[in-house]
């Protein structure tokens, strides 16, 4: 099963390689990984999406927590959280197909960010399911190229207040 982990860690040199080395060394999957500074000085936040059964996930979380540079690990899969990814999709768009593609763009509230004679670049933002759906629909027109940011995610604040 796919899991989204939110990891807070000390922003020190090499911390990314500690994380990626842990995943490769132990044979854990990384689907996407995304790191950026937080509001707090010296703290980096990372969103990792990974795939594994319950036992593997338990090990991944424990192993991450064991890293001396890691401050906090939360598995966002089972708690209310918002999750977003941005993707740029270059899709073949001949004159006859353009209108159809535009309809999909509208339905999913995507944006067209570049157009040429026979191609369009579409910007889509959404959670995992929405992005999958867009891919499925655009597939038949011919997807030429894709760039993805990887998932970022955040616990919903309602939850924080209940705690």
């Amino acid at each position: 099963m796919r899991h989204v982990l939110s990891v807070l860690m000390e922003n020190e040199p090499g911390v990314l390689s500690r994380i990626s080395g842990l995943f490769s060394g132990r044979g854990f999957n990384i689907e996407s990984i995304n790191a950026a500074p937080t509001l707090e000085k010296g703290v980096t936040s990372m969103t990792i999406t990974t795939i594994g059964d319950e036992l593997i996930l338990e090990q991944i979380v424990k192993q991450l927590r064991k890293l001396v540079s890691v401050i906090k690990v939360v598995d966002l899969t089972d708690i209310p959280a918002v999750e977003r990814e941005m993707v740029l999709i270059k899709v073949a768009a001949s004159d006859s197909r353009r209108a159809e593609i535009m309809r999909i763009v509208d339905i999913f509230r995507c944006k067209v960010v570049d157009v040429s004679i026979d191609e369009m670049v579409i910007e889509a933002i959404g959670d995992y399911g929405k992005i999958q759906a867009i891919f499925n629909l655009l597939q038949r027109y011919g997807i030429k190229e894709v760039a993805r940011t990887g998932t970022v995610a955040m616990k919903r604040s309602m939850q924080t207040m209940e705690e």
Binding site: P13, G14, S17, G21, E58, Q59, R65, K66, S69
Partner: protein
């Protein structure tokens, strides 16, 4: 007063109570060596940096204190990697200082530059590159703290040469370092302990399975108190040997691949397994899913990653095992004699005793011809009454040491369990001898392994370290040969030595004493003489070639499927 980074480093070592450093100099650390004679720190100059790391490790295992090793950049640093990985796999507290090329050159493929922080990331508990002299004291403080607390392990500190030459006013941080990202949990959850004790009260066939964590936590007394109070038999991993006296009536011996029949049958048949400071290694569990399959499992370990890694557990207890056992003893005291443990476990203890009596560890004692290696270990045990510090190399020698030396006390068996590093035993003995100058330290060696760090003979001679090396010389890489015999149709590819050094002459050329033993009758007198000598000794015992270690659970089989002969 401002002092150099090299002096800051040495001052910090003094603050940490370091009295001995194992090392080897080079350009990147020459500033430290320049200042070293001014400090009350003994430096043991090895002849290969791998040995420095193993010696620091042996010092740590024998004493419980953090071992320290110091080497130069590049090849000096890479030579320690096997030693660091060895310590990592067995959770040994150690701090390794490596020199690094000057900061401005880092990343330029400079002379003797290697990314040792990158290389050792997966085999250290943590590691540091010191970028600014101002960070040096804090980093050293943290390094020692990380090495010895929680689940211990090696920490590497890489110090560029310019940092060693810069100057600062030293203020060593007081108290425990505060690290928001590192807070090992020592205290057990009382509810979990109650659950564990309730299971114990209900169990008919309980077994305690103890490991290296018991030694690290100094929890051996608590183990014995609980085992004796509740009349529970105990088995230990290779790393747990010595926590319970080897001849205690409740002790079943080592479990696992080369464990005793009694221990493995007890694991197979128990209905409650109380695992304490052990990590369910595959050499112990055999075929996954068959290990203690009839039992409820309680697992006490300070490291959450050890729990439910290989085996499902019913009651996990994440804590220091000494505190957990104290807690369990407390619950027991509250119960105040409600249970007649003796009666409750009488049948089970009769069963385990029967297994021990019907299938003791054995070998052909009546055989004529070459010396039996097991007999050599038994003789070492008898001559030392279990009072020596034993180190081992890796292979059959190691297993015979584990089986036939009845360890009486913790920290008397120093052996590379997790990584299985040939060449570990001799340098580890150097470390142990430095920790305990007056105790007898014996390396039980194989003729293959000993050649991996034989150069350290000059180190023990020069430093007057009376380490005794007993080589169980079978003329081959015995453990691999055993696998070839049993599982590869006797295809002895590259395991039988065509050429061997003359170990007695080799010892002599280094300035050590050498003995040759060729008959069973010579074993005891020669060992007695060797152990009485006040200097390093090599005893080359020609043992039966082709002798195998039994019992043996073939790799991946269930513990109930032991090969007994």
């Amino acid at each position: 007063m401002e002092i150099s980074g090299a002096r800051v480093l040495l001052e910090c070592l003094i603050k940490e109570g370091v009295d001995v450093v194992f090392g080897f100099p080079g350009g990147a650390v020459i500033d430290i060596y320049d200042a070293l004679p001014d400090y009350p720190i003994k430096h043991i100059l090895v002849r290969h940096e791998q040995a420095a790391a193993h010696a620091a490790d042996g010092y740590a295992r024998a004493s419980g204190r953090v071992g320290v090793c110091l080497v130069t950049s590049g090849p000096g640093a890479t030579n320690t990697v096997t030693g660091i990985a060895t310590a990592y796999c067995d959770s040994i507290p150690m701090v390794v200082f490596t020199g690094q090329v000057p900061s401005p050159l880092i990343g330029n493929d400079a002379f003797q530059e290697v990314d040792i922080v990158g290389i050792t990331r997966p085999c250290t508990k943590h590691n540091y590159l010191v970028k600014d002299i101002k960070d040096l004291p804090r980093i050293i403080k943290e390094a020692f703290y990380l090495a010895r607390t929680g689940r211990p392990g090696p920490v590497l500190v890489d110090v560029p040469k310019d940092v060693l030459q810069q100057k600062m006013r030293l203020k060593y941080p007081e108290g425990e370092p505060q690290m928001r990202s590192y807070n090992p949990n020592y205290k057990p959850n009382l509810n979990q302990l109650r659950k564990a004790m309730t299971l114990l009260a209900k169990a008919k066939r309980p077994l305690m399975y103890i490991g290296g964590g018991v030694i690290m936590a100094d929890a051996h007394e608590q183990v014995m108190r609980l085992a004796r109070a509740c009349r529970v038999p105990v088995t230990a991993t290779l790393m747990g040997l010595g926590a319970m006296p080897g001849d205690d009536p409740l002790f079943l011996g080592m479990l696992g691949m080369h464990g005793t029949y009694a221990a493995n049958m007890a694991v197979y048949n128990c209905d409650l397994l109380l695992a304490v400071g052990a990590r369910f290694d595959d050499r112990v569990t055999g075929k996954p899913g068959t290990f203690a399959a009839k039992a409820k499992i309680v697992h006490v370990d300070i490291d959450p990653t050890s729990i439910r890694k290989n085996v499902q557990v019913h009651v996990p207890v994440v804590s220091d095992c000494r505190l957990a056992l104290e807690g369990m003893l407390g619950i027991l005291a509250d119960w105040d004699g409600q249970t007649d443990w003796e009666a409750k476990h009488a049948e089970w203890l009769a069963q385990t005793s029967e297994w021990a009596a019907s299938h003791p560890l054995s070998y052909d004692r009546a055989a004529s011809g070459p010396v039996k290696p097991q007999y050599v270990v038994e003789t070492i045990y008898e001559l030392t009454r279990g009072d020596a510090i034993i180190t081992t190399e890796v292979g059959q020698n190691q297993m015979w040491a584990a089986q036939f030396y009845k360890f009486q006390r913790p920290r008397t068996l120093l052996t590379s369990g997790g990584l299985g590093t040939m060449g570990y035993g001799f340098p580890a003995a150097i470390g142990a001898q430095m920790a305990f100058p007056d105790r007898l330290v014996v390396d039980i060696a194989g003729d293959g392994s000993i050649q991996m760090n034989i150069q350290e003979l000059v180190t023990v001679v020069w430093n007057r370290l009376p380490v005794k090396i007993v080589i169980l010389n079978n003329g081959c890489l015995g453990m691999v040969r055993q696998w070839q015999e049993l599982f590869y149709k006797g295809n002895y590819s590259s395991t039988c030595f065509e050429a061997q050094p003359d170990f007695v002459k080799l010892a002599a050329s280094y300035g050590a004493k050498g003995f040759l033993v060729e008959t069973t009758e010579q074993v005891a007198p020669v060992l007695r003489e060797a152990f009485a000598l006040d200097g390093p000794v090599v005893v080359d015992v020609r043992v039966t070639p082709g002798e195998n270690v039994y019992p043996m659970v073939p790799s991946g089989a269930s513990l109930s499927e032991m090969l007994l002969v």
